[in-house]
């Protein structure tokens, strides 16, 4: 995925929330920093100001230790009120792994997460099929494109009731699904037992996106791949498009 020209100044501003127990905050921050057009700053969970930001990232980790249901405490952090307002005003919000769980707990995205079917933490590269390449988070991918992105979670088994699933399908809110290398969303390719191989969903408006896989971990070929760059490139693209 190509980056914007180096001559551009860093005009697209990301905020990365640090909850106590976040541990992918620096990875997300560093991934954004590899894009010439973007800059990232950290947001403390007790802060409430999101002024001047284009996109908020809720990173992976174990917020509050996740000793309770994942994300169940973090949703009550002061910053989540601000994030909820930010999203209601159309701001872009992406939750990765634990960030996705927090978005589900806070009701910004529909559905819930169960423990992995195998009841074990699983960390490995998986294949994802881009189901909706029109969102602000996926517009630099092709529809149906298969990308390789790692997962690392104990609780990634997405669930929603039947009407909820129908609604997700109808409004094209299923953004990425687990698939095999040829792009088939088979049972064998599903690493955690998630319903309909769902790996990530967006809200109906399309400005809030959550996914279990970690695109920020594959933004540099030196560490195993660059397929995750498209997510950040898409966000930057949609912000710059909206400005022109």
């Amino acid at each position: 995925m190509s980056t914007l020209p180096q001559t551009e100044t860093r005009t697209v501003r990301f905020g990365v929330v640090i909850f106590p127990g976040s541990n992918c905050d620096a990875d997300s921050h560093d991934a954004v920093g590899t894009f010439a057009a973007a800059a990232a700053r950290y947001l403390w969970h007790k802060d409430t100001g999101l002024d001047g930001l284009d996109c908020v990232i809720l990173p992976g980790g174990f917020s509050y230790g996740d000793y309770l249901r994942s994300g169940a405490i973090a949703r009550f952090s002061p910053i989540m009120e601000a994030v909820t307002r930010f999203a209601a005003d159309g701001g872009l919000v992406i939750g990765i792994c634990n960030g996705f769980q927090i978005l589900l707990e806070s009701g910004l995205l529909p559905g819930a997460i169960h423990r992995n079917q195998a009841l074990k933490f699983v960390c490995r590269l998986v294949s994802l099929r881009v189901e909706n390449a029109t969102t602000p988070f996926t517009n630099k991918y092709n529809q149906g494109q298969v990308i390789r992105v790692p997962i690392a979670h104990m609780e990634g088994n997405y669930f929603i009731d039947a009407p909820g699933l129908a609604s997700l399908e109808q409004h094209k809110q299923i953004v990425v699904r687990y698939c095999d290398e040829s792009g088939s969303a088979t049972k064998e390719a599903n690493p955690n037992g998630s319903l309909a191989n769902i790996a990530g969903v967006c809200n109906r408006e399309g400005n809030v996106f959550g996914l279990m896989p970690h695109p920020e971990r594959v933004c540099d070929p030196v560490v195993g791949g660059a397929d995750g760059r498209g997510v950040f490139a898409s966000i930057i693209n949609s912000i710059t498009q909206a400005r022109t």
């Binding site: 127990g21 560093d30 174990f62």
Partner: protein
């Protein structure tokens, strides 16, 4: 001295000898109070006092151009250039894990991680060498599952990738599993912290979790005696981990370091407050006054001695100048951590304990930290150690060598460890330049061209047969693993796992292993930066195999020029590098196929080893080697099979027929490496070898692994078959099914 528990004197119940008690009395000039006696018993335990190991460890090489900090601090620190340095340390959590595998392993990670950030480094990876009994037994599967889950729970939550380690299964570990944990951290030179308390009137802060009765005398008590049928009763001495609090503690400590708020920082591990306070005072050449009435407690009614020896987890002790008190409180409050001033540094050279103003203990720091008695035992060479190797015809030759290969590939000691490392977050922090499962782990340093490589190695079976040769071989293998990814070894940390050193046979093993380690470290230029000794890995009088586990770090000049063991392309030349002569003695083949552990292992030629390793490293950096794989467990045949599986490419190999086929295929000897190279690079590679033993033995390609010798086909199996045997084994065993060897 009052007697708290009936007939035996209190010192004996605390694990001290009568002579040691007399020694304490003479140093104090009086009988100790109970709290003093409890503190002495911890500091003079084998675990904290290194009573049987100190005299021998003195002989190990510790200095070097790149060594910024050697043994004695919480972790060794190695300069890697451009103001960056690596902190590293390995420790054991064997005894707690044998009793409670999940929490034992989890708190093992917690402890070693604290050692790393205590020196000011940000932990960037963990590696965990594990040894269990045979998985045929349900209890061993329970231990494996529990330990792996514990490592995963703590490390994953902390956001520290677990990037390597190793797993071995041998009957000798059945009652004493080995759970060794290694952590490495990255630090700028200016950010290095010392564990010292100094400056009269400086404040001693206790930061982190409240202190409870959990783990009263846990690590130090457990690690200083053999197990017997009362082991189960010791479960309450195993601590419970809280990685979330430790993550906050890590961030708060590094923030305080960045803001220059810390004079010294020390973690609370084995021996709790007693050990941490006295070691901080010792390193600072100072004294410390503690008031235990200020220590935040988890429960009411704790006795003073309990507060002093509690091994509650996730606590740090910091020495802070008084004018920084508010800033420390502010940082800790922001991270929702308790921070309490529990004492101050003095110039007295004494550890004084107060309880709400009343003096209840007053001991010289030096007596606690440096003057634990040491013991030398008369070594006794066990009868199973022999001078001569076994004859080549000791065992019948297997009729079907294909089946032997499949059986070995499915051996729990050789098969894929994916089931384990997939449970560890091995990618967080996004520095992993290689996936797990290779020769060594490589991490990039963000913003730098260079990287660092790490490996751990241990081989108790070889050390059992010959502790000196075994230890030499283990150090050499660690260095070889690093060379095979293109790294230059710089230093080691070691975890020495042995039985009861009071016995002559064990003392002999320890002494010989330390000597072997010294020789290899000197020859290969890898000084020892610290580590840990774990004695009393013994139950019902039966000891584990002597097992010095080595953690080694190396430098990669250019992280884009590293290599894996996987075959890369069809038609590449396969070469065998090294001059060692494989033998059946101590091999996986001997154990798995012939059910014996006997003989004398071949010795490693350290001078040749050094040359062989630099050749492989040069070849990788110059782009001449497209894969490199150390010939290890399972011999040459398993080595070739592993490279074929990893690359998805077969090979046709032709060996000379001077040896018996089974020994040719599966015999082991330290010092052999299989490398592949493009046809066009063959000449330059042979030229680079400059007379070192390097010869072509075949070509990559096709969907089969075939190995011939003198025109006779020894092995010829489809790649898919060896892949299945190697890949599915561990998962099937853990699930309680038989290994699908050869199926």
């Amino acid at each position: 001295m009052t007697n708290k528990a009936g007939s035996k004197p209190a010192y004996e119940l605390l694990g001290l000898r009568a002579s040691e008690y007399d020694d304490i009395c003479s140093r104090l000039g009086r009988e100790p109070s109970y709290v003093e006696l409890a503190i002495f018993s911890l500091m003079w335990s084998e675990h904290c006092g290194y009573k049987h190991s100190r005299p021998l460890l003195k002989g190990l090489p510790v200095g070097g151009d790149c060594i910024l900090q050697g043994p004695g601090e919480n972790a060794g620190i190695i300069d890697i250039g451009d103001d960056f340095a690596i902190a590293m340390k390995i420790e054991s959590h064997n005894h707690p894990s044998a009793i409670e595998p999940f929490q034992g392993a989890a708190t093992g990670i917690g402890g070693i991680v604290r050692d790393i950030f205590a020196v000011g480094a940000r932990p960037i990876a963990c590696l965990d060498p594990l040894h269990f009994g045979s998985l045929a037994k349900a209890r061993q599967r329970f231990l494996l599952e529990g330990v792996v889950a514990g490592v995963a729970a703590y490390g994953n939550c902390m956001g520290i990738p677990t990037i390597g380690g190793e797993i071995h299964f041998e009957d000798s570990y059945e009652d004493n599993c080995l759970v060794n944990v290694m952590c490495v951290g990255l630090v700028r030179h200016g950010g290095i912290l010392k564990a010292s308390a100094s400056g009269e009137g400086n404040l001693i802060f206790l930061i982190g979790s409240a202190t409870g009765r959990d783990g009263i005398g846990g690590a130090s008590v457990l690690a200083s005696a053999e197990f017997d049928e009362t082991a189960e009763e010791k479960r309450p001495t195993v601590q419970v981990g809280d990685p979330f609090t430790e993550k906050k503690l890590l961030e708060a400590c590094l923030e305080m370091r960045d803001r220059g708020l810390l004079v010294g920082l020390q973690d609370l591990g084995a021996g709790g407050l007693s050990s941490s306070a006295s070691e901080m005072a010792s390193k600072g050449g100072a004294g410390i006054d503690l008031d235990i009435s200020r220590v935040p407690l988890r429960e009411k009614g704790m006795e003073p001695f309990e507060i002093m020896i509690s091994e509650s987890q996730e606590r740090m002790l910091a020495c802070v100048e008084p004018h920084n008190e508010d800033s420390v409180n502010e940082v800790c409050a922001r991270w929702d951590l308790d921070a309490t001033v529990v004492g101050q540094a003095t110039a007295s050279g004494r550890l004084r304990i107060f309880n709400a103003g009343e003096l209840i203990g007053d001991m010289p720091v030096a007596a606690l930290v440096d003057e634990a008695p040491t013991y030398v035992v008369e070594p006794l060479r066990p009868s199973h150690e022999v001078d001569e190797p076994l004859g080549e015809d000791r065992y019948p030759q297997p009729a079907d060598l294909n089946q032997t290969l499949l059986t070995l590939l499915a051996s729990p000691n050789i098969c894929s460890r994916r089931w384990v490392w997939q449970q560890y977050d091995h990618m967080v922090q996004t520095n992993n330049a290689l996936w797990p499962g290779g020769e060594a782990a490589v991490l990039r340093i963000k913003g730098q061209k260079r990287g660092v490589a790490f490996t751990t190695d241990g081989n108790g079976r070889r050390c059992y047969l010959d502790p000196r040769r075994g230890a030499r071989a283990v150090v050499a293998e660690a260095a070889r693993n690093l060379a095979c990814v293109g790294a230059r070894p710089l230093a080691i940390t070691n975890c020495l796992n042995f039985g009861n050193p009071e016995k002559g046979g064990i003392y002999h093993q320890f002494k010989e292993a330390v000597a072997g380690m010294r020789e290899a470290c000197q020859a290969l230029g890898t000084p020892v930066t610290g580590g840990n000794v774990s004695f009393y890995n013994e139950s019902f009088g039966k000891a584990i195999y002597p097992n010095p586990v080595i953690g080694m770090m190396g430098l990669v000049e250019d992280v884009s020029r590293i290599q894996t063991h996987a075959f890369k392309d069809e038609g590449d030349a396969v070469l065998l590098l090294g001059g060692a002569r494989p033998a059946v003695d101590g091999s996986e083949y001997q154990l798995r196929i012939h059910g014996e552990v006997a003989g004398r292992i071949p010795d490693v030629d350290l001078e040749l080893e050094k040359k062989v390793q630099s050749l492989v490293r040069e070849a990788i950096i110059k782009g001449l080697a497209k894969s490199a794989h150390d010939v290890s467990d399972g011999g040459l045949a398993c080595c070739l099979a592993e490279s074929a599986i990893a690359g998805g490419i077969g090979a046709a190999i032709e060996l000379d027929s001077s040896r018996r086929p089974d020994i040719l295929l599966f015999g082991e000897a330290p010092g052999l490496i299989v490398i592949t190279t493009a046809a066009a690079s063959l000449e330059p590679l042979l030229e680079l070898a400059d007379g070192l033993p390097l010869k072509q033995i075949g070509r990559t390609g096709g969907g089969r692994l075939s190995i011939n010798a003198g025109g006779a086909a020894l092995v010829d199996v489809p790649l898919a078959q060896i892949k299945r045997a190697w890949e599915a084994s561990l998962e099937a065993i853990v699930a309680g099914n038989d290994a699908p060897a050869g199926s």
